[in-house]
Symmetry: C2
Subunit: 337 residues, 2 copies
Amino acid sequence: MSTIEDVAKLAGLSRTTVSRVINNHPYVSEDKRKLVIEAMNQLGYAPNSLARSLRSQKTDMIALLIPRIINPFFSKLVESIEMYASEHGYQLIICQTRYSSEKELNYMNLLKTKQVDGVILASIQNDWEVLEPFLDYGPIVLCNEFNERANVPSVMLNQMYGGYIATKHLLEQGHRRIAYCCGSTRSNVASHREIGFRKALSEYGIEFDEQYAFRDALHSEDGRRVFHQMMSLSESPTAVFTGSDEVAAGMISEAKKHGCKVPEELAVVGFDNQTITELMEPTITTVYQPVEKMAQKALEIMIEKIHSRTYRQREVYEFPLRLIIRESTVSNKLTDQ
Amino acid sequence: MSTIEDVAKLAGLSRTTVSRVINNHPYVSEDKRKLVIEAMNQLGYAPNSLARSLRSQKTDMIALLIPRIINPFFSKLVESIEMYASEHGYQLIICQTRYSSEKELNYMNLLKTKQVDGVILASIQNDWEVLEPFLDYGPIVLCNEFNERANVPSVMLNQMYGGYIATKHLLEQGHRRIAYCCGSTRSNVASHREIGFRKALSEYGIEFDEQYAFRDALHSEDGRRVFHQMMSLSESPTAVFTGSDEVAAGMISEAKKHGCKVPEELAVVGFDNQTITELMEPTITTVYQPVEKMAQKALEIMIEKIHSRTYRQREVYEFPLRLIIRESTVSNKLTDQ
DNA sequence: CTGTTAGCGCGTTCAC
DNA sequence: GTGAACGCGCTAACAG
């Protein structure tokens, strides 16, 4: 457990010189540098980063707030952000809010207590007014999230466009009774998708029908449930737009179990392009989200903010989504890209 | 950006008293305590944890090393560990080694540089001799891993038993030509499963056949590939034990595509009990792993080690696995638990 | 080029 | 009950 002082003594030099060597400062003669390095090796010395951080007021740590990592979308996001972070010498602290505003606040305190240099919010539970004061302590970057009142950088995917192209695809296949099945409306991800969904509909002169709207579907079980809800309607939809491949898969599984043919009797679109889309039968038409790009951009912005020390500027970066057509919306023989 | 000094001044007291209030020390009169709290609120004061850590030699951070978080097994592990960690006031730093021994070493340095109080290894890339010296700087706990030469706590699942019960189940269904299809043999997880697989076979007087062994299957694509490799054998297996639900799903998908009936012509067992096992048709027989329990135990041990400051004791905690029988091994009509 | 010195913000003896 | 003073390990003036 040697300190810089020990190294200095062993090398017969001062702490300063050792520090200079550690930090690659100029103005250190080559022979002293050798001496220092020798001493460091001999002692197995490693600088104490706590002391460094206290001194330099930076931790090289970033907190990433997500609801739950088990969700494949967020796994992918964490995977990417961690990768880029470590490439740039930053460590990532993972913070699962589990949709609790209280937990979110606890994690935000990492910024106030100087444990991290910045916070990436990939999920927002509190009102922006509650979060805003934390900007006094460091940068906040929104990732896959957006808030009208937040004057901070926002890196996001064009969810509206995603909802639009998926729905338009269904319309082009001739469907007119199309159900909408997404997650909580609290997230602006879902609400943006709904806007795109509605836009496509209106372009075809179709009115949005509330009885075809399901706004609490997150998992495969929800897909199964919604399938039954749809089928019990007097006029069942012939197609459905879902906000997640898992939901789509659950729905398809249940449909098949009850003899409902996909896509002939019910066309289904998923979201995310997860592995499962190519494993199900039929394979699932879905919307691909360029998560890596978004992750990379979010980190890039974060690092820039940490250095520039100006946090309250609003900037929006948006990435386009892409429709991937598979069997769940187009009958087998006709499938083409 | 107020410090403890500012609070002290505003309250008309000394730093010491403020510190006592922060740390809930006794011997502070009630009125002074009120004064301090008032001042803290007024200033929006939050203690600087860097300074605290430097002083107290603890960071309340734990590093968790995994290969990649995208793997659902590790997602689940991270989810659980993070949950328990935050419950106990610890933050989790996520470290993806991506199977690189170099990256692993980089992350191990978090211990040496005092950025974390301990390291949980859920993946080991380096020889133990390389890792062992880090014990000078803090506790290491193995989670889902094991090393003969490592005198540290190990929390793991009984993978041998998992391989055994899955294989035995196939044998009981009458299968005699059973293929083995797992991931890299470098991990002792896979090798333990293979031991269990062989044990079951030998109990039925069957010899392990190397041509039925595939040891590089990790993803669904590998499942597809192995399916073809198996089918091209002069005597194809009638059943296969796989080390992952994804591999099993890929194999089943490919089998169906080529008119091979599951389970009638090929019975398939997966591993992990992931969502996909209930979405595929047929649903997939699999081995359930109590990841939460393992995670909780690993963290419990870690915290205990951090406090006790003795790191070099070997302890092994093992949790049993459980077979979940579904349609991919038992023909529909006969399915029972 | 090198060393001396002063904090970064906090917790903790040790006196009072 | 309370406060003065030291030091955790390091970096950055400043002086030489």
